[in-house]
Amino acid sequence: MHPLLLANHLIMLAGGIDGNKRPLDGSEIWGVTLVGLGVVIVALAILVILILLFGKIFDQINKNQKEKEAAAAAKKKPKQAPVKKVAAPVQEKPAQKPSTAPTVQTVSAPVSDEDEVIAVISAVVAVMSEQDGKNYRIKSVAKSQRSNGFSGRSAWAMDGRRQNVNPF
């Protein structure tokens, strides 16, 4: 197709093609295809630029806000000194030394969680042992270094997510 003919038809497209026209010229067909695709790409490309721009602006605003909040928090910090009275619960456990009490308190929660996890694992192993008729022994329970994608996600969360994202 001659480029000038196509250009001429592109200009003619501004007035539109008669919906009932049949058959269409090759240049009209190509004109609609190229103009249509071009307009869609240009329109969405403009949106890409604008949304990227807005993203940058809002990121900067958020960053400034966080910095202000951090600065304000830093100023207030000396006034928060009395918070260190956390050691007060120590009175509930007079047998322990006051200095170590807070440490024991913070560590005790995770330890309790781990105990529960180990109890669950032991129960599962016990059931397996009963079913197989073999004796199993748990030697250690340690956190594994999972590869990218598993990070911080439990098997239950993984399965739930898989169920949600499967089409059928």
Partner: protein, 404 residues
Amino acid sequence: MLQILQDILSGLFETSGLAGLAAEPLKLLMMCISFLFMYLAIVKGFEPLLLLPISFGMFLSNLPAVLPEDMIFHAAYWNEPQSVEWLWKVLHDGGLLDKLYLGVKLQIYPCLIFLGIGTMTDFGPLIANPKSFLLGAAAQGGIFFTFLAAGYMGMSAAECGSIAIIGGADGPTSIYVSSKLLDGADSSLNTGTIALAAYTYMALVPVIQPPIMRLMTTEKERKIKMPQLRTPSKTEKIVFPVVVTLIVALLVPSAASLVGMLMFGNILKESGVAGRLVDTAQNALMNIVTIFLGVSVGATCTASNVANLAFVKVLILGVIAFSLGTACGLGLAKIMNWLSGGKVNPLIGSAGVSAVPMAARISQQEGAKADPTNFLLMHAMGPNVAGVIGSAVAAGVLLSVVNY
């Protein structure tokens, strides 16, 4: 006495459905096709919320009747030019489905559906990764390349545009465009057949897309893991619908109705101050419009409209449009992957067609097949919602270029 009885019985038979069936045996075939669609919706679960109303509407309009006043739907009304007298005739003499079909003919239902979709859509993944817009644009290649194919098959401009829009994989947009372009056009096509083809292919996304995705990507590409997206702020989410509506309306005013309603629904949701309206738009209103739209579009699938060569052409070109859209999205995603040094999983490109959220789920599914620890859903949702905007813009272009 016997003669009177015989006359009465004969009169009853002549006005009964049995006589209507004898006069138009193709109605039986159409009823069987409607049963097939009901089976697909109920047993196979293919888009049941749409396919079931469509198939039952199809069944209702093909029920045999001899007298015009007994008909639930009059296909002949919808080939006449619109006027005040015509509107009065539809309201006065039309059946129930004729009156419901006015919502399609006047382009009310597609816009209301877009309002509901807006209240249910999270544009967060698109705002977090705006480059997804380009994938949504590329997937619209299916629309325009199908226009090309239909044009060379000798179809009229209105027919080319109506068939091509199926490639957008967006039911309401297909109805919106075809009801405008085919209104009063010299064509054997109608909005019902276009809508039926569009919704059929949307239901078949899990069948059509995966082979193309596997064909166009390597195992290594399908395993690419994409980094987690940032979380956009509430302000960004509120500004987004306003910006998109403004830009689209400035460039393609014909798309303003669809995009405007989509974004109106979205700002209702993101503003967080209109909970009751959001609840109504995404539940009650959406369900009511879906019922009316489905049953009235299904009603247009009469034997005269469907049992012809034109519908076969629609089906063939429809699947070509859909496949080309998928391929164009994948193609651009592969280019983006190459340009980014292997950071973009090309599977998200196929989600650029606007079958939300099915196309994104297929990307996720194919990615998880290659690597079960790969989660592409949120990355694919960006191009998927961009596809909704892209197909509305493409619709606007077609309506601007083709006079109706």
